[in-house]
Symmetry: D2
Subunit: 286 residues, 4 copies
Amino acid sequence: MSKAQYVLTLSCLNRPGIVARVTTYLFEQGADIREAQQFDDAETSKFFARIAFDLGGSAGIEALRESFAPIAEEFKMGWKISDHSAPRRVLLLVSKFDHCLADLLYRWRIGELEMTPTAIVSNHGIENYAGLDFGGLPFHHLPITKDTKMEQEAQIWALVKETKSELVVLARYMQVLSDALAQKLSGRCINIHHSFLPGFKGAKPYHQAHGRGVKLIGATAHYVTSDLDEGPIIEQDVERITHADTPDDLVRKGRDIERRVLARAVRYHLEDRVIPNGKKTVVFAS
Amino acid sequence: MSKAQYVLTLSCLNRPGIVARVTTYLFEQGADIREAQQFDDAETSKFFARIAFDLGGSAGIEALRESFAPIAEEFKMGWKISDHSAPRRVLLLVSKFDHCLADLLYRWRIGELEMTPTAIVSNHGIENYAGLDFGGLPFHHLPITKDTKMEQEAQIWALVKETKSELVVLARYMQVLSDALAQKLSGRCINIHHSFLPGFKGAKPYHQAHGRGVKLIGATAHYVTSDLDEGPIIEQDVERITHADTPDDLVRKGRDIERRVLARAVRYHLEDRVIPNGKKTVVFAS
Amino acid sequence: MSKAQYVLTLSCLNRPGIVARVTTYLFEQGADIREAQQFDDAETSKFFARIAFDLGGSAGIEALRESFAPIAEEFKMGWKISDHSAPRRVLLLVSKFDHCLADLLYRWRIGELEMTPTAIVSNHGIENYAGLDFGGLPFHHLPITKDTKMEQEAQIWALVKETKSELVVLARYMQVLSDALAQKLSGRCINIHHSFLPGFKGAKPYHQAHGRGVKLIGATAHYVTSDLDEGPIIEQDVERITHADTPDDLVRKGRDIERRVLARAVRYHLEDRVIPNGKKTVVFAS
Amino acid sequence: MSKAQYVLTLSCLNRPGIVARVTTYLFEQGADIREAQQFDDAETSKFFARIAFDLGGSAGIEALRESFAPIAEEFKMGWKISDHSAPRRVLLLVSKFDHCLADLLYRWRIGELEMTPTAIVSNHGIENYAGLDFGGLPFHHLPITKDTKMEQEAQIWALVKETKSELVVLARYMQVLSDALAQKLSGRCINIHHSFLPGFKGAKPYHQAHGRGVKLIGATAHYVTSDLDEGPIIEQDVERITHADTPDDLVRKGRDIERRVLARAVRYHLEDRVIPNGKKTVVFAS
């Protein structure tokens, strides 16, 4: 489907009349609603909505935001209106294994993802990626040791600012971010963990899965928080395995799961389909 | 989630302002919207919505329908407001294999489905179902031959009317309905076909699947139309098989697929989650 | 597929010549091999095999066991030859929720499982199961409190012996077995846990899953050991959920997963398709 | 798992003693069996087996073939012993959409597939693949029109011979092979069709699927025969869709299915896991 130009996302305490108020406003602005989804969280009494729309006129997003602000105020909304005519700027981090990176670059190349990668950062040297076409993106080798972690993260953060990256994707970047950096990137840093969380947190999850004898393995894309592998989950998927699969087989099968789970999570984020809900997410998938 | 009392479903040509108009109306009635889903079919320019809501007041459904009618008129909607405080009346038809019937009866017993079965109809005798607890439902043995098809269908139709059944479920009822009966039950008769349609229409689909050497088998729940196995699809699912599975194995594995696909389709229908869209359906799943 | 009469399962340290030796032996006995599967665990250097076969002659299982013993001795095998012309005797335990029990009874009724249930045991009274046809099986109400656990388990154990039950199935029996009983039933007691282990061990796993915000839920069938929810896993499966699913929705969706996972695990066990491998299992699925 | 050096595949009419004979032979050769799978097709009374093994000695594959020939003769086997120490030579054909090609090249680069691509052939020009790293492979632009089909296919065939390619993969090559070429490549040409066959044969299957309103879409990898989309199926998979998915959404979701289905089928073929069985295949998957 050709995408809508604007996306409004909002959340607030639920009470009657929110949708009526918001859609009447949009109607008055001359908006053509293309897609609308809402969720009433009975547990927390919070209301969430995502509305994608086109606008015939030439008012522009600033005018929209200004005219919507009083409504947001009235309902004490957390809210955002985004212009999707331009793609989001995304910084890609990777370590040794590049299957997720290669997959994201491919999807970017064919126009599947609404993003403009700004740079690739790795704690490994560029020779590790022989045969992978970076599509002209700058590559930054930022090695890291226990002693230089703070400095390396400062470099990453400088790159985020310098490149005006709105999203950071840890595409199998195997370093744990410090609390400080995790906090700075709160809500805009997506990691792929190679297990079906909350099972098998931490290191070598496929070996853990093999040791436990599970019958399916999975992957989890989540926002990074200072709690390792505990951030809000955006997307998960699994595949069936058997007793005959060695840890190496799990690594191989896992690559396919990881890349599709990460790609879906990144797409949902780029299309403003994910709204944080405490330690969880509301995902208006498509 | 405790279910909402009322469900409004509607479809009409898309144009700006529909949602604003409808939700403003509901707000003015004092409605508490519990769930709302909409779909804008870009291909046909048709708009579909389902809104589940509670109503504090004592107005009643007739008053609601009356006050909503002018809006429906204005947008030339196909529409329905249903009261879900009482379950739907459902006639169950079955032939020799009773796994789908047993499953539906079980879900009814534990309160999973919003339905009151009215009777069980079979072209086989009751002795075929030894050990299956009908939960006190009347059982009608209506045998059928090529020569008595018309009379037998007349009996079925009489039962539908007599029991005030709003839905007829063909729970592996292996007789093809005549065009006449299919038309009378249009939009309220659900069949389960034991293949992933459009593959393997007609008789013995598991044997066809075995013969073709497919690697997954499936089942399809659809509304019955006069075109055999061509009605609007409500739900489908599949499972993986291998070369080692015999037709009998497929029949066994298929039972599990059939019963869950049929149960989902029946639940969606009972909860007014299915809206016809030409030869297809819009399913606001949950 | 019509099942083979005999099943030989074996495990031993791997070394060349095992299969040659065993299949030559079976050939000399006049056996017709119907199905054969093997697994070489590179990690532990253990070899596992399952061979299903028919035997034209009238030698009988005792003669078979006697003639095979020297080969087993030579390779220091753990082994078993079972006669599958008679179904296994199975004791069924249940608590309040009877969806798994109802499902197993249904599969028994239509001949899908090679078992003869011996009795149904519950810590709840029979009135809890109104509308469920026990198929003539004896029902034992064995209530349990913290103070009477030892006595209640003694009654269960007495029933196992008295009914000559070879397998005990905990079909959503919500009491943790004592170490003593778990040990007595080692390798022949299957539990269904309503989560995708190792995630969400212990009580109320669907509520835990809802709290964590996972995007799929699952169920796990495993042999019971004295370590709660840590026994060797036989089978697992999952289904997709969304943010909109309440804990009650998870319970509903979970019922479908639990019953099919437990039924598969029980079938694999009854057909001698499961061989223990330390804390894991080898499952020669079909 | 580190792969075994040799793979023996065989099929013949089933009769007692085959496995005993073959495994005794391998034991006498000093073989270390790494993996063994067999299948007894009750319908056709045919027996199939795949045995992967290492051989300590230095006899070599020619000596092996010679010594095995009398056994094969005795049982009238179709058989093959392959040396897997060297990868297979594979010719890759593609048209406009390169997601399957890019995926196969990636898996080749990281060593996931036992293949050496020999060349890339397309009926589109190289400018269509800007940004895709061919890894140094020769690219052949072989345009085709109705009038030049015969000549173009002659060029393809010449390339197959010249490059000594053992396998041809149609990685979304959108030209129907002539009967003549299909026959020449019988059993060694794999196509990916972007539907769950036998549903939606022929052109634009995603548009067909959208028109029919199915609830899952799929892809099918099969050997090419002169019957369009009727060749023996090697692998299939599906994903769930909804009424809200446009044909473009199906194309996007389908890309992920196609590439993993094709990659699995190619891997199975390269590892000699696929044995033809009339119009079907036996796939000893892993």
